[in-house]
Amino acid sequence: MKMIVRFLAGVLISFVLVLQAQARVEIDITQGNVEPLPIAVTDFGGDSVASDIVGVINNNLRNSGLFKIIDKNAYIETGLTLNKTPRFEDWRTINAQALVNGQVSKLPDGRLRAEFRLWDVFAGDELTGQRYDIQPQFWRQVAHIISDKIYEALTGESGYFNTRIVFVDESGPKNKRVKRLAIMDQDGANVKTLTRGSDLVLTPRFSPTRQEVTYMSFEGGQPRVYLLQIETGQREVVGNFPGMTFSPRFSPDGQKVIMSLQQGGNANIYTMDLRSRSTTRLTNSASIDTAPSYSPDGSKIVFESDRGGAQQLYVMGAGGGGAKRISFGTGRYSTPVWSPRGDLIAFTKQSGGKFLIGVMRPDGSGERILTEGFHNEGPTWAPNGRVLMFFREIPGASGGPKLHSIDLTGYNERPINTPSFASDPAWSPLRN
């Protein structure tokens, strides 16, 4: 066990060193360069659900960029079952540092039983193991849960595989785009649309506590912020404001929605308490104040404002007032999102005719650019604060946005498969 932990601790420490070394230069592109940990995930038994579960686990681990899946054909020990202790020297020979064995069986009541064990090959120790009895239709979710257990045991970080993404599905020509809210698993599976496409919808965000999203819709020609219950499809307008409300997001306790209200040429930030329905105005300036996002402890709010002439990031207390500018690099900064860990703020930056995704500390120090190009926009954090997702526009008349994920180090950028063009991703909390 210690061996693997030490190996990964080394990886994490080297990340930290890279970050600190580069924090001294003004604009910093970090290409993390980690040697993935070789891991073998053996068959979970013969039937197709078992191999589907292993497939999802392998895909999750590989996509995290932290693991290298060892090809089955390289195995020396075959037929390793759940209750057997592995022949560790066989796995050491093929340089597997971690090993997973497991079993999927059918219970008399029709449910599936999925079990796994995770081994430190070099120490010859069992690191963790679990058993789950589930309805067969939840096989994918159990595969994500097992992936999270493996990730957590080997990295010491919480997982992010058992999560979903809400996003905007885009179809039709660029000048007549049809936009629908859609939801899918973090790996792009199980896509479902939540709205029918008759109204323009934008910027969905997950509730941290309920199966609920807040988003903006142009329903009835009145652009306003709404709440949508994911399971029932029930919708309601948030508040009764005298103008366009937009850019909504939940407070960390899920009890408030924070958003912008347009008044003439200015946008100011308001909250509405979902229980008492009372609203509070938090900014009062002759400028565009928008894209508010709470710190995870709920004590502060980061937002963008053009009060200084162009879009920049500001932090204020949750009660409003006393906003301090935190972004000072070259260019304009927008769409700030506070990391669930509290340590960083992700943003979109426009500079030199390009759109970049970056992170900085809440005091504005340590700015790092993770990716750049013609148009990257709208980062969202995985619940463990290690991975971000954003959308990237392909330019031109037939172009459109697609979702991408990237590690916090700027390493392991990869496209997320969606049925059509996709924008405005928002990551859910870890599911139970």
């Binding site: 230069v25 003004e26 604009i27 592109i29 290409q31 020509p173 660029k174 000048n175 785009r177 936009k179 323009l200 934008l202 910027t203 142009f218 020609g221 652009p223 366009m244 937009f246 850019s247 912008s260 347009q262 003439g264 040429g265 200015n266 946008a267 565009i288 928008t290 894209a291 963008e304 053009d306 162009a310 879009q311 070259t330 927008s334 769409t335 979109t348 426009q350 500079s351 030199g352 005719g353 390009k354 650019i369 990716t371 750049e372 148009h375 926009e377 709208g378 526009e393 330019p395 031109g396 008349a397 172009g399 924008s423 405005d424």
Partner: protein
């Protein structure tokens, strides 16, 4: 990925320079706005077609600006005159932004353009009770190429006439 700061800076300079020179070109042929000189074009006076063809239903803005240009003010002067002559049309001012901005900001920027247009028309005597504003941000481009010539057509306020009342 950017290799190093010096390269980044020089690229940024080139991009800035190109942006400026293209903006200068775009100003010269600042598209419609002059349709009023074309005569009546067979449109019935007082019809929506008359307004669109002979007055011009839209004004354009510079990048990230809601300031009405001299050309835009000329168009709005003509719009105000027409709207006062035909007082039964309720009006929606639709503000739009180009695609080279972030979504939330562009919603507010479109609203700011619509508000600037409404305020100007109000100053020319069009009653505010006839006018409502809406912003579509960058969501409804009219020109879809990946070029400054398209982006400049998308930075606009469109004066949309509803069915006449009374």
């Amino acid at each position: 990925m950017l290799a190093s700061n010096p390269i980044f800076k020089s690229r940024a300079m080139i991009a800035l320079f190109m942006g400026l020179s293209l903006a200068a070109c775009a100003k010269k042929d600042n598209l419609p706005d002059n349709s009023g000189q074309l005569g009546l074009n067979g449109a019935t006076p007082g019809s929506q077609q008359d307004f669109t063809v002979n007055v011009g239903d839209r004004v354009f803005f510079e990048t990230d600006s809601s300031i009405l240009t001299p050309v835009a003010r000329q168009t709005l002067d003509k719009q105000a005159q027409w709207l006062l002559q035909y007082p039964n049309y309720p009006i929606t001012l639709e503000g739009h932004a180009d695609e080279r901005g972030t979504r939330e900001y562009n919603l507010a920027l479109g609203a700011r353009r619509a508000a600037a247009t409404r305020d100007y028309l109000a100053g020319r005597g069009v009653p505010t009770s006839r006018m409502r504003t809406i912003s579509f941000g960058k969501e409804r481009p009219v020109a879809v190429c990946n070029d400054i010539s398209c982006w400049s057509q998308n930075r606009r306020t469109v004066t949309v006439l509803a069915a006449p009342t009374g």
